[in-house]
Amino acid sequence: MFKILEKETLAPHINRFVIEAPLIAKNHKPGQFVVIRIYEKGERIPLTIAEVDRTEGTITLIVQEVGKTTYMLGDLKAGDVIADVIGPLGRPAEIEKVGTVVTIGGGVGTAIVYPETKAFKEVGNRVISIIGFRNKELVILEDEMRATSDELIVTTDDGSYGKKGFVSDRLQELIEKGEKIDLVVAIGPAIMMKVVSDMTKKYNIKTIVSLNAIMLDATGMCGACRVEVGGETKFACVDGPEFDAHKVDFDLLMKRLVMYREEEKIALENYLRESGEK
């Protein structure tokens, strides 16, 4: 059992949880994730760790409510417990001094790119961050990102905050402005990562993405998270989650991500109905 020490709603349907997990906090490196299972009948889902506090022995997860499990998590409060939190899993991000790094967060992906932004900054890179959201209401971690970036660009799909458009539009502007970019790290919805990857490929800018594949054990035992990278089958859980974007088959990833769409809909509807009745 893992205790939730703090819970805060950052934006509609986006919550931040501070969870007591000293061992995970101790061995965590940026880019790694945990698998959680909330209760006895629950499914196992991977969630990337946004932050750890080694002295307090806690990890922070920032989670958007999209399916039954994340809605159920969103209904938990400080003091409640999660049955299982397993990690830290996956290979850590490769944090090196390369020059200028552009880190891109799409929606709740910002929570994942945030610790990496901090890490890239700490090793001496110039860091430009681009974070994009559907609208103003959904903007998260703006202050935190600003504090760890040399430059922060905020963009919204509808223009209700920052500049109107997508993160890829802002990246295009940076490139056109003549900014010399050595590395792009893009984390967010698969389609966003694909668009960014297609763009940087044209300009030959090395790009890293974090793949949010469906996982079960997340220790390389089942192969649910198969992705194709450079024409080879890889397991996102142990070979990743981070890969060279230009080698990733995003179309396959996007197809595999919706494999259980019907079941996810049934589970969520049942949950919302039952929790509404309570």
Binding site: L23, I24, N27, R37, K41, G42, E43, R44, K68, T69, A83, D84, V85, I86, G87, P88, L89, L216, D217, T219, G220, M221, C222, G223, A224, R226, V227, E228, T233, V238, L252, K255, R256, M259, Y260, E263, E264, I266, A267, N270
Partner: protein, 465 residues
């Protein structure tokens, strides 16, 4: 003449009923049946059956107790050598072990040793308080066991009895390893695994789930925490794929994933349980071992209209236990022999729709002694499917070993450990079960665990490596 009593059959759920549920197929002996079967044992003064058992259970002794109606005593007699009798009674390949050596099996059918073992264990569990075996005085030495499958559980029990403080670290959220995630409910009810694990806990073994050694904690950290020895019973936890075109299409599962969703996460109870599984009308399971049989029979229970075994050799070469093949046949599984997948064909949404198969013929025997399958050129054809399960074996999961380069591996990726002691190339670290031998049986892993436990005790007494 007691030899005249025929081998007693085990009552089973009817095939037409059981394909609609995940409940156990074999229902077990009644006390009457068990005593009748026990009558058949000749009580050989030199019992060959004991030699056939990887953990050398005193088989004639426990059968004699059953004959005398002392069922609880019979179970306790077995437990002197085997901590998991209810499990072994169900999943051991007795036909290749104890029963193969049974003297009356030479002319007729051997004594049903496995069924009697299961009967005694179940009888004790239902009718008696769990008896904690005698545990030696504490040696004040801590031992870490990584993995809670058959090997790990055996090492834990043996070392606990010797007086060590034992902690099991399990990566998944439930203890039992392959007994929990792999073997289906209809062959091994999970309540039994739970019962055996809680038996160890009552003995004082500590079980820590959600601990991925190599990630959550390293082996070095375990030594730093005061553990004097580490046993690795990691299992064969790496799914093998075929490396052919279309393998990542939707609807294609590794057997590990298919069975983990089904057994560990109870996808057959979706939406009561949250984990889904996709099983279409026509399912093709590739492979011919016990895992393939477990997968294909699970597919039927998930509601498949047609479940096929796709195997590249013929029935004779099927590596699965005969009993499991017969169960599958009774349930209506269709066996397609002498065919091998060439590629998988999908639709525009990425779902698998067909397997291109090529016909095979059998040539000369290969290294395994079985006749080698050879493709017949130009014989390719499409076989329509909605769901595919790839059950062609599992390899060594490299997660912990990549994090621990001190532990030498062989060319197949398994741990290069001494087969008698389990000693690895890293001082204080032992290994046993499938992670050393490659895929084998539950009881072989337990036999290895027994040897490793002795070697660990010796190492801690002498400090000799």
């Amino acid at each position: 003449m007691r030899e005249k009593i025929p081998r007693q059959g085990m009552p089973k759920q009817k095939p037409e009923d059981r394909i609609h549920n995940f409940n156990e197929v074999a229902l077990g002996f009644s006390p009457e049946l068990a005593q009748k079967e026990a009558e058949r044992c000749l009580q050989c003064p030199k019992p060959f059956c004991v030699d056939g058992c990887p953990v050398n259970i005193d088989i004639p002794a426990f059968i004699k107790l059953i004959k005398e109606g002392k069922f609880i005593e019979a179970a306790r007699k077995i437990k002197e050598d085997n901590v998991l009798p209810a499990i072994c009674g169900r999943v051991c390949p007795q036909e290749e072990q104890c029963e193969e050596k049974c003297v009356i099996g030479i002319k007729g059918e051997p004594v049903a040793i496995g069924r009697l073992e299961r009967f005694a264990a179940d009888y004790e569990a239902e009718n008696a308080e769990m008896e904690i075996p005698e545990i030696a005085e504490s040696k004040n030495k801590k031992i870490a066991i990584v993995g809670s499958g058959p090997a790990g559980l055996t090492v834990a029990a043996d070392l606990k009895r010797m007086g060590y403080d034992v902690t099991i670290f399990e990566a998944l959220h439930k203890a039992g390893g392959v007994l929990i995630y792999g073997i289906p409910e209809f062959r091994l009810p999970k309540a039994i695994v739970k019962r055996e694990v809680s038996f160890l806990e009552k003995m004082g073994v500590e079980v820590k789930t959600d601990m991925v050694i190599g990630k959550s904690l390293s082996i070095k950290e375990l030594f730093g925490m005061g553990y004097s020895a580490v046993f690795l019973g990691l299992g064969a936890g790496l799914p093998r794929f075929m490396k052919i075109e279309g393998e990542n299409l939707l609807g294609i599962y590794s057997a590990n994933e298919f069975l983990t969703r089904t057994n560990l996460l109870k996808a057959y109870k979706f939406p009561e349980y949250d984990t889904p599984i996709k099983v279409g009308e026509r399912v093709g399971v590739i492979g011919g071992g016990n895992v393939a049989m477990d997968s294909v029979r699970s597919a039927l229970r998930h509601g498949a209209k047609e479940a096929h075994i796709i195997y590249r050799r013929s029935r004779k070469e099927l590596p699965a236990r005969e009993e499991e093949i017969e169960n599958a046949e009774e349930e209506g599984v269709i066996f397609d022999f002498l065919v091998n997948p060439v590629r998988f064909i999908g639709d525009d949404k990425g779902w698998v729709r067909a397997i291109e198969l090529i016909k095979m013929e059998l040539g000369e025997p290969d290294a395994s002694g079985r006749r080698r399958p050879i493709p017949i050129p130009g014989s390719e054809f499409n076989f329509n499917v909605d769901t595919v399960v790839i059950a062609i074996g599992a390899g060594a999961n490299p997660l912990l070993l990549n994090a621990t380069p001190e532990i030498k591996r062989n060319k197949w990726g398994y741990i290069d450990a001494d087969l008698d002691t389990g000693k690895t190339s890293m001082k204080g670290v032992f290994a046993g079960g499938d992670i050393v031998t490659g895929e084998a049986t539950v009881i072989e892993a337990m036999g290895f665990g027994r040897r490793a436990a002795k070697a660990i005790d010796e190492y801690l007494n002498t400090n000799k490596w």
